[in-house]
Amino acid sequence: MPIHCEIVSQDRIVFQGDVDIVVVPGVEGVMGILPNHSPLLSTLQYGIITIRQKNQEEYFTVAGGVVEVTGSQVTILANAAENVDEINIQRAEDARQRAEISLKEAGAVKPEDQAALQLALKRSTLRIAAVQRFRQRRTR
């Protein structure tokens, strides 16, 4: 019996469908959610969501959020999420470089901007790492 899974970010539905297992990066560790999981609410950290349908796996990056599990339904409210296959690697690299450069000129950055930059750096690093790890595997 599959479990219905929805990954929703603020501006779109990233994924929707019946799956066999969802693996999410919870704040207290990575957890796999199988059908008939007990109701659960958890916050997410930066990481990878893995979804398996039949024998096919899909990977998504997620930049924090909340997951709700109720019986036959997993809802992931993501702060930013995308399928690894749709990440623009060039853009991610550029973003990381931009963030690194501005962080180095620490004097010029206001403390409140610094936090935002750190987050941007974290996001882009995550994207790049995800692409490197999961795209390769697929092409092999």
Partner: protein, 298 residues
């Protein structure tokens, strides 16, 4: 009376104006469409976030109130996030929302301060000597959630630090091309949908079905969701306001184009009359001259 040359110049300049306003109208028309789409795209997230909040509110033992949920007994300061546009030429769009906001809080004794989104609103408030504590202008044409998140963050900070006891958002709600309503809505303290009294009776299993395990804990999760949801509401307000702005501009520009056309046809009429009068005069001169010559030679 104006010379025909002046008239021609005037007609040409009005025609040029009409061309510009017409171009602006077309641009706005396509922008409205895009803004509406962006607005619709936030709906799935909002719906699900709302459902999770309702589920949470329905939980047994959610007595521990999150500070963002707590109504304060005494409201000493009000904060209003006023969403207007950066650019003008949008008819009464900016005036309407600023007036509505000022009227809404006019009979309050409590001091009201503003965070403005958009230059026009900021300027209007500053001209009226209101206190503007923060401003966000120059958002991109298609704002993303990440762009508007700092606004939500600022609102939450102001609220938690007791610099504001209530936070409102004032924006123009898009209804259709011809109708945009200024709306003022309270967003903090956040009111969670009350679980309906009879749900337990109607669905006896509803409660037991929804006993959650929390990771890390209920409070931390609320702490995560509610500021996000506040930011989301502001984001939605911005998108709706954006659609309204473009719709208002489109209508204003259409009106301008139409009046320009009317003006051109009036001017054209005048021009023709003057031209005709000029020709008649010349004819009279010539025939008068010819007459005089004929009499002289006779």
């Amino acid at each position: 009376m104006a010379s025909t040359r002046e008239m021609r110049l005037r007609i040409r300049s009005v025609k040029n104006l009409a061309q510009v306003t017409r171009a602006l109208e077309t641009v706005s028309a396509s922008k409205v469409r895009r803004a509406i789409q962006a607005n619709d795209r936030t709906r799935p997230y909002a719906e699900r976030a709302w459902r999770i909040l309702t589920d949470l509110a329905r939980q047994p033992g959610h007595q521990s109130m999150h500070p963002l949920l707590a109504e304060r007994d005494e409201v000493k300061n009000i904060l209003v996030i006023l969403i207007s546009s950066d650019r003008g030429l949008a008819g009464a769009y900016n005036v309407n929302i600023v007036r509505e906001a000022l009227l809404h809080f006019a009979d309050q004794q409590t001091p009201v301060s503003y965070i403005t989104v958009g230059k026009r609103g900021r300027d209007m408030l500053l001209r009226r000597r209101r206190s503007v504590v923060g401003e966000f202008s120059g958002l991109s044409a298609n704002p993303t959630y990440l762009e508007s998140a700092p606004i939500g963050q600022l609102a939450v900070d102001e609220f938690l630090s007791h610099r504001a006891d209530q936070v409102y958002v004032a924006y123009t709600e898009y209804q259709n091309m011809l109708r945009q309503e200024p709306v003022i809505r309270k967003i903090l303290p956040f009111s969670v949908p009350e679980p309906e009294k009879n749900t337990a009776l109607a669905e006896p299993q509803a409660k037991s079905k929804f006993v959650f395990t929390y990771e890390p804990g209920q409070e931390e999760i609320l702490h995560e969701i509610i500021p996000d949801f506040t930011a989301l509401q502001i984001y939605k307000a911005i998108l709706s306001a954006l659609a309204s702005e473009h719709a208002a501009r489109m209508v204003a520009m259409r009106n301008a184009t139409n009046s320009a056309k009317d003006l051109v046809s009036l001017l054209q009429l005048d021009y023709n009359k003057i031209r005709q009068a000029g020709i008649t005069n010349e004819m009279l001169d010539i025939s008068g001259g010819a007459e005089a010559l004929a009499q002289a030679s006779a």
